[in-house]
């Protein structure tokens, strides 16, 4: 039973254009959502997060949007650069004392020259 779903295994975007990565969730008890980027043979690195009480958070080229009614969030990367080619994981934290973080399966982003 997947609580955090990334339905697109891969995405290809032209360099300079906008990349939009999507994530859906099922549990209303998540209080924070996070995006991570992962290169092969390395650990994931934290990109950006958003609290469940907000609907947008921006950091440079990265913006995360949260639609609580739809239980949907998205990561926008503008403009896309070659170094953005990686696997992106959506994650969510459960609102309880254990601070369990649950990850989606990831979306592989290819930035095309």
């Amino acid at each position: 039973d997947q609580q955090v779903k990334q339905n697109s295994p891969s995405l290809s975007v032209q360099e300079g254009r906008i990349s939009i990565l999507n994530c859906d969730y099922t549990n209303s008890m998540f209080d924070y959502f996070l995006w991570y980027k992962k290169y092969p043979a390395e650990g994931p690195t934290f990109l950006i997060s958003i609290s469940s009480i907000k609907d947008k958070n921006e950091d440079g080229r990265f913006t995360v949007f949260l639609n609580k009614s739809a239980k949907h969030l998205s990561l926008h990367i503008v403009p896309s650069q070659p170094g953005d080619s990686a696997v992106y994981f959506c994650a969510a934290r459960l609102m309880n004392r254990d601070d369990k973080i649950i990850f989606g399966k990831g979306t592989r982003l290819h930035i095309l020259p």
């Binding site: 924070y32 996070l34 043979a41 997060s49 601070d99 990850f103 399966k105």
Partner: protein, 113 residues
């Protein structure tokens, strides 16, 4: 900068061996996690710990145990390694302040033959 260090980048073990994966973090984080990453399955939580000597099962704890005797160190133990435990293992740590983002180590690629 937060540093999470895993003791080995690559390990090859034989079926039935007892395997120890060590993880150390230097930021006094309360929470520590062990995940495994497999193609098409994303990051799956094995165990996590929110305090010294405390542990909680994640989604796939079978065949694994953990130890947290000191705050900075979280060990994953494969009691009797099997070939289906061949995977990339990722350790992470997090603090509740200022935010829930977890920081990952570089990963250990374990092959069980």
């Amino acid at each position: 900068d937060v540093k999470v260090t895993q003791s080995s980048r690559y390990l090859v073990k034989r079926t039935g061996e007892k395997v120890f994966l060590e993880c150390v973090q230097d930021m006094d984080h309360e929470n520590m996690f062990w995940y495994r990453q497999d193609p098409g399955l994303g990051l799956r939580l094995i165990y996590f710990s929110y305090d010294v000597k405390m542990k909680e099962k994640g989604d796939i704890p079978e065949g694994y145990s953990v130890s947290r005797e000191k705050k900075e160190r979280f060990s994953l133990i494969l009691e009797s390694a099997s070939t289906n435990q061949t995977s990339m293992y990722l350790c992470a740590s997090s603090s509740n302040i200022p935010g829930p983002e977890a920081f990952f180590g570089q990963g250990t690629r374990l092959t069980v033959v």
